[in-house]
């Protein structure tokens, strides 16, 4: 097998051809350019995918710290009873950590000073202890989570001459919008009642809640729309004793949501009168976002693969040039008894070395930039940047002076590479890339560049690039191997 054959001779010749004509330099300028091309492609794909993965993970973390993995409702969102039993049944399933009863409803906020209902908020009636097991809810609350017996509620009941139904935890942005502070009373329009005399009139039924805490999840959809009240209060409010309209479920592993959701639908019986159960996973809820991200990732991988492909053309053309330049040498080597296989392997090794060096360089470059960006998360001072820029500047100075003195083009190229790399590092250092710049911060409040290096993907892209570069060597190497010895010898 040619692959297992001792390739000492081929390596010996190929390594010499990688070098420049000037004996003092390690590698020829054209090889450096080819290596740079591959490196750039590999580095960008690693970086871009790390950012996209970071965004996806950031979003997932935010969603999962706020949300249940599975939400069981009826298709028409109507109320159902017997929920304690059903929760027990759900909790008995594999992979289920906890389930909690929830009433989800929308309600208007009555503003006394304007006498209007300007905002509709989503009310989530919860059992705080159970809910905590499902969504880790209390970790995101500033203030009390005792929705029934908080000190603030007692005080309000004592001070105010009106019925206080209970406590409410308001989304932080919502509270900010309303200018509400802890202890304030919020009037919710719960339902409309018929006027006792004139049946055609409907009068609003208001309920008063004391704001006992604020909820900050860093997801705009929650912070700007949600209010949490106790499930008992909600049941009383909506006149739904012993009924709920949702069961929130937490699993041992969020990725199991789809499977478990189907299992819940199958296990929990609802009568025909109650309705059709519909268990939705967090992935289904955010499907459009995640599928957009996935699409973006696929597109990125395709584009970056094309970049690597272009870089591999660079390798091919480098090799074709080398073959042309070395035609006479190929003739000589054939005269000395090298087989076609020997010749083919010499040029394939040469191309593969360029590819491997480029891939290694690109991988390190990509990972270093990833590291720089995540390191940037701590927002380094300008001094830090100075520490970076001084050696870079010195390197450029030394390289350019040497380049002028020795006419060593490759040193100049190294200098330019330093300039680009250093400039980028500097840019990162003095101007932290934040989510404000990316426009995501408004909605998802990620303030830092999220970076997640997926090692499996890094290995995959390494293998893919290697394969592409290797394929790029085939044609030139084949061309060299099939040169006719006599014609090659006479080549000028």
């Amino acid at each position: 097998m040619p692959i297992f054959k001792n390739m000492k001779f081929e390596w010996f010749v190929a390594s010499r051809y990688l070098r420049s004509r000037r004996k003092q330099s390690f590698i020829s300028i054209i090889s450096i350019i080819s290596i740079g091309g591959v490196a750039l492609g590999v580095a960008t794909v690693i970086l871009v995918i790390a950012v996209l993965d970071g965004v996806e993970q950031g979003l997932k973390e935010r969603f999962l710290s706020n949300e249940a993995h599975v939400v069981l409702r009826l298709l028409d969102h109507s109320f159902f009873g017997n929920y304690q039993n059903r929760i027990q049944q759900i909790e008995a399933l594999d992979d289920v950590v906890a389930a909690s009863p929830v009433i989800l409803a929308q309600t208007g906020v009555f503003r006394e000073h304007t006498g209007t209902i300007q905002d509709v908020i989503i009310i989530k009636g919860i059992d705080p202890a159970q809910e905590n097991k499902v969504t880790g809810f209390s970790a995101l609350v500033q203030g009390s989570t005792d929705l029934l017996n908080s000190e603030l509620i007692e005080r309000a009941r004592f001070i105010r001459d009106e019925t206080i139904t209970g406590g409410i935890i308001l989304g932080s942005r919502l509270a900010g919008r309303f200018g509400i502070i802890e202890g304030d009373v919020l009037r919710l329009l719960v339902k409309l009642q018929q006027h006792p005399i004139d049946a055609s009139l409907l009068i609003p039924d208001l309920a008063n809640f004391v704001v006992i805490g604020f909820y900050e999840s860093e997801i705009e959809a929650y912070d700007n729309n949600f209010g949490f009240i106790h499930i008992d209060a909600a049941q009383k409010l909506y006149n739904k004793k012993n009924l709920v309209n949702s069961i929130f479920v937490r699993l041992t592993n969020a990725e199991l949501a789809a499977r478990t959701a189907r299992k819940i639908e199958d296990t929990i019986n609802f009568s025909v009168l109650e309705g059709i159960p519909d268990a939705r996973t967090w992935m289904e809820v955010h499907a459009p976002l995640f599928s957009a991200l996935r699409l973006e990732k696929i597109a990125t991988v395709i584009i970056e693969t094309l970049i690597i492909l272009v870089a591999s053309f660079n390798i091919a053309s480098t090799l074709i040039m080398t073959v042309m330049e070395k035609t006479k040498d190929v003739g000589t080597l054939r005269t000395l008894g090298s087989s076609r296989g020997n010749i083919m392997r010499i040029f394939m090794i040469q191309g593969s070395v360029i590819g491997i060096l480029g891939i290694m360089l690109g991988t390190s470059l990509g990972l270093i930039i990833c590291w720089l960006l995540s390191w940037n998360a701590v927002r380094p001072s300008y001094w830090y940047a100075l520490v970076l820029i001084v050696p870079v500047f010195l390197q450029i100075l030394i390289a350019s002076q040497r380049a002028i003195r020795n006419k060593g083009g490759w040193k100049f190229a190294v200098g330019v590479l330093w300039l680009i790399g250093g400039g980028f590092a500097l840019y990162c250092a003095v101007r932290p890339v934040s989510f404000v710049d990316l426009g995501l911060s408004q909605i998802y409040q990620m303030h830092l560049m999220p970076i997640k290096v997926n090692w499996v993907f890094v290995i995959f892209i390494n293998a893919l690039s290697l394969a592409i570069c290797w394929l790029a060597t085939l044609y030139p190497a084949w061309q060299a191997a099939n040169l006719k010895p006599v014609e090659a010898l006479q080549h000028e």
Partner: protein, 228 residues
């Protein structure tokens, strides 16, 4: 001297034509030649008569259009390409008019090259290469690159290179064609000495009458055939 030797190479009815589009340009036309072992044979003839082509075919660098070349009664062109390369590597040494040294490699590496293709131990190969360089009088120049050597020195390196695998046959194509008189004489002396010492077979293509007078046997090529 020649009569007692056994035949090493037998060339039978050799034809070789080149094609320029449709036009056939016959070079060798039914050439027959026998080369004896340890013989010092010169091939002379007008330029363009096919001397080099003959040498290339004997050296397996080119394939004949028809006819056969037998080494010890074995038709070498029946061998597959890889084995042909191996045969060339082991049994044939080339010396060309132009040295054809590899510019990226030192004199020593150039000498060692043919042996390195199949070598298991580089150390032994380099030792032999050093001995050969010493033999051609260039022991001190092993680390020099071809561009740092004179024309005569390069040609001596090329001769040393041809000998590294102790080939049975050394094929030389105008080995002194590109050298001044003094260098030529040194090269020729080297070749005669080699032949006397090693008993290797030499086929030298030349139109240098001086060479022709110093060899065992001279054949002349006329119209793609051998005339004596």
């Amino acid at each position: 001297m020649t009569n007692s030797k056994k035949t090493l190479i037998r060339i039978v009815d050799l034809h070789k034509s080149y094609y320029d589009g449709e036009a056939e340009l016959p070079v060798l036309q039914g050439l027959n030649l026998e080369v004896n072992a340890s013989e010092l044979l010169a091939v002379i003839g007008a330029s363009g008569v096919g001397k080099s082509t003959l040498l290339h075919i004997i050296g397996t660098l080119d394939r004949p259009s028809a006819g056969s070349v037998l080494y010890n009664d074995q038709d070498i062109f029946n061998l597959p390409d890889t084995e042909l390369a191996r045969f060339r590597n082991q049994e044939i040494g080339f010396v060309f008019q132009f040295h054809h040294l590899l510019p990226e490699f030192t004199a020593l590496e150039n000498v060692a090259m043919a042996a390195l293709i199949t070598a298991t131990s580089d150390k032994t190969v380099y030792k032999e290469a050093e001995a050969l360089l010493d033999y051609v009088g260039l022991a001190e120049r092993g680390a020099h690159y071809p561009s740092q050597l004179s024309g005569g020195e390069r040609q001596r390196v090329a001769i040393a290179r041809a000998l590294i695998n102790k080939p049975k046959v050394v094929l030389a194509d105008e080995p002194t064609g590109n050298l001044d008189r003094r260098s030529s004489e040194a090269i020729l002396k080297l070749l005669w000495d080699l032949n006397a010492k090693s008993g290797q077979t030499f086929v030298i293509v030349t139109h240098n009458q001086e060479i022709a007078q110093q060899v065992d046997r001279v054949v002349e090529l006329v119209d793609g055939k051998v005339v004596l």
